[in-house]
Amino acid sequence: MRSRSLPYLLIAPASLLLAVLFLWPLAQTALLAFRAPGPLGTDVWSLAHIGRMVGDFDFHSALYNTLGLVVVVVPLQFVLALTMANMLRHIRAGRSLVLWIWSIPLGISDLAAGLVWLAILSERGYLNTVLQAVGIISGPRSWLTYETPGVLFAAIVATELWRATAIVLVILVAGLDMIPREYAEAAEVFGATPWQRFRRVTLPLLRPSIQTALILRTVLAFEMFATVVAIGGRNFPVLASKAYDWQYFDQNTGVAAAYALVIMAAAIAATLVYLRLLRSPEHAR
């Protein structure tokens, strides 16, 4: 009896902590988003905050900007990380050193990463200094204003690639290391080309790691905040920055909570899609 209840006793503290610090605030957020003052002054169930959010002129820009970033950044990071992880496989000496250098950005906070790229791209930043030195531009040029939305978008994508590809890389490297070399060798014996070996052997075996990496990365991409704010400010609204604006500047917690729910819904939807698309076949589990 004791042995049967023991596992539950052991996971109880963690579950309780998660419930208190995650589920409870989550319920509160939902309440904040769906309760508004009614005609009698007391709070009633209402879609008023959702209406305010959707009716706000910046809502659609924030939604499209966020989706745009996710759609561009996540696949790019995935391809980059997969390539880098495969390159690592062929390195013998100094492999740890290379991996260590490649994962340095992991240790940098997203705000710091944003500020690094801001220092490069701002009017008096390093990029303009270099361009001016080689004579491409004659004076400081502004790259990150509302007049240059394309550059702004590209700058944020570059920052995210620089900052967060490492997390995908680390997961994929761990996944690749777990695949026994015998599979590839066997395929080679049967005359498979390197591309066939990668496509037919490595990728399917890597599927669980790919799933984890994509879910983690996509969820984080929907929550992108500090890098975007550092580089784009109000010129490039995203869902998380709108939530922040509504909470701090406009002082309307209800609408801020509604934005938080949209971010959560998007993250859950993406997770479900990945779980379904990248399901490991029954016999392989």
């Binding site: 509160q28 008096r124 502004s142 400010g233 500047f249 938080a260």
Partner: protein, 432 residues
């Protein structure tokens, strides 16, 4: 997930902590207690205690507190009848909610005794909140002014004077600089931490339409936005990232800027020889400006009303006002001559403020009054309107109609009456 989730949870905890810290002291104090939302930073508060109050005829116990707990405390003392505080020092908008609740003592008897201090009538009137009685005595003030790099001065349009600039001349000036240098060097604090909304609420709107709320979507307002959109073509596009204009002024990215005196101070302190300060431009309805006024008031039931009144008299004296000026980024409420031993940068700002207040067509426009927690959403209306009309080139009429409705909803929610420069209203202020 995002930190937003945590905020509503943290706020009450902070409030409780703040209340605990501000717990009333025993009422037996022989010295009057002076509770203030201003001069809160520790050095400033210490300066009040050790310098300003040193030569005061009345000793007082100076306590600085957050605006939110200030309100809670004053209301709690009135409700329980357990009065500890004798003197209040706070911004106009922080004292205003106490007036309809009848928590402030009229100070009409004190006004004649302050005549020698020459507090301008326009400021004194603010302390009446549109009633017959004087509820606070103006204590100190701040405002928003213009600053320019001396390099910009040669491009001033012919016949224009820095001290009496119009918005039209500002546009010509910036255009001349643009033409000569190829750069747009006029700047506004329109970034996330900037105070651009105050420019619309206190400067542009009243200068062009004579009001803020009532005239929000008037034909004058449409014309104003069209004019401002044209002026924006001369504005540095990085303006939507600027918070404190002292930074782009110092870096040379901007030559002409508008901002709060405290947010320009660094430029004037670090390189006083490079910058000039001057009043805000004027429009068809006059030189509108937004005074940020702090006042001194005595709560009803105060344990030491006489000493508190004596303290107000002492704090209003020109010599005390100058001591206060040296402590903070606020300027005297009195018409005191700027002291000669003042830092040159601070003096430049002070002179510009004095000129603006003394302008014959000066038109003070108050910070929004009575909006409470809806203040942020009210500011958003102006920022959204600006975004849509100026940055996204939407038709002003349609935007103003939609945003005007949103503004009316906010005013209805809190039953806010009109504030200057809009004419006083009997009920909720109406967007015409």
């Amino acid at each position: 997930m995002t930190p937003i989730r945590l905020l509503p949870r943290l706020a009450p905890a902070c409030a409780v902590a703040a209340l605990a810290l501000a717990a009333p002291r025993p009422a037996a104090a022989a010295e009057p207690v002076w509770l203030s939302t201003q001069l809160r930073p520790i050095e400033e508060a210490q300066h009040v205690r050790t310098v300003i109050l040193k030569d005061s005829p009345v000793k007082a116990d100076f306590i600085a507190d957050q605006p939110s707990s200030f309100t809670v405390r004053v209301e709690a003392e009135a409700k329980t009848g357990h009065h500890v505080v004798s003197l209040l020092g706070a911004l106009h908008g922080e004292l205003e909610p106490f007036v309809p609740l009848g928590l402030l003592q009229p100070l009409d008897g004190l006004v004649p005794r302050l005549a020698a201090d020459k507090i301008p009538n326009s400021l004194m009137q603010l302390g009446k909140f549109g009633t017959q009685h004087q509820y606070y005595i103006p204590w100190m003030q701040a405002t928003y002014i213009m600053a320019a790099n001396r390099k910009a001065l040669p491009y001033l349009p012919k016949g224009a004077s820095l001290d009496h600039l119009t918005y039209g001349q500002l546009e010509q000036w910036a255009a001349a600089i643009h033409k000569a240098t190829g750069r747009r060097l006029l700047g506004f604090p329109a970034g996330p931490s900037g105070l651009m909304h105050r420019f619309f609420e206190g400067y542009l709107y009243p200068a062009y339409t004579g009001g803020v709320v009532t005239t929000f979507r008037s034909p004058d307002a449409v014309k104003m936005w069209e004019t401002f959109r044209r002026l924006w073509a001369q504005v540095n596009p990085n303006s939507t990232s600027y918070g404190f204009m002292q930074e782009p002024l110092l870096s040379g990215d901007v030559w002409i800027a508008f901002d709060h005196v405290a947010r320009l101070q660094d430029a004037f302190r670090k390189r006083p020889q490079d910058f000039v300060a001057f009043p805000a431009p004027s429009g068809p309805e006059g030189l509108a400006y937004m005074p940020v006024v702090a006042g001194l008031a005595i709560p009803k039931g105060a344990p030491h009303p006489k000493q508190a009144a004596a303290l107000i008299e002492y704090l209003s004296k020109p010599s005390t006002q100058i001591l206060t000026l040296k402590t903070s980024s606020f300027f005297p409420a009195d018409a005191v001559p700027t002291p000669t031993d003042l830092e040159p940068g601070l003096k430049a700002e002070g002179d510009a403020v004095a000129k603006m207040l003394a302008a014959p067509d000066a038109k003070p426009a108050l910070l929004p009054v009575g909006l409470g927690a809806k203040g942020g959403e009210f500011d958003k209306i102006f920022l959204d309107t600006f975004q849509l009309i100026v940055l996204r080139h939407e038709a002003p009429e349609a935007v103003l109609k939609r945003e005007g409705e949103a503004m009316q909803r906010i005013l209805n929610d809190v039953h806010a009456r009109c504030w200057a420069p809009d004419p006083p209203s009997s009920g909720t202020c109406q967007v015409n």
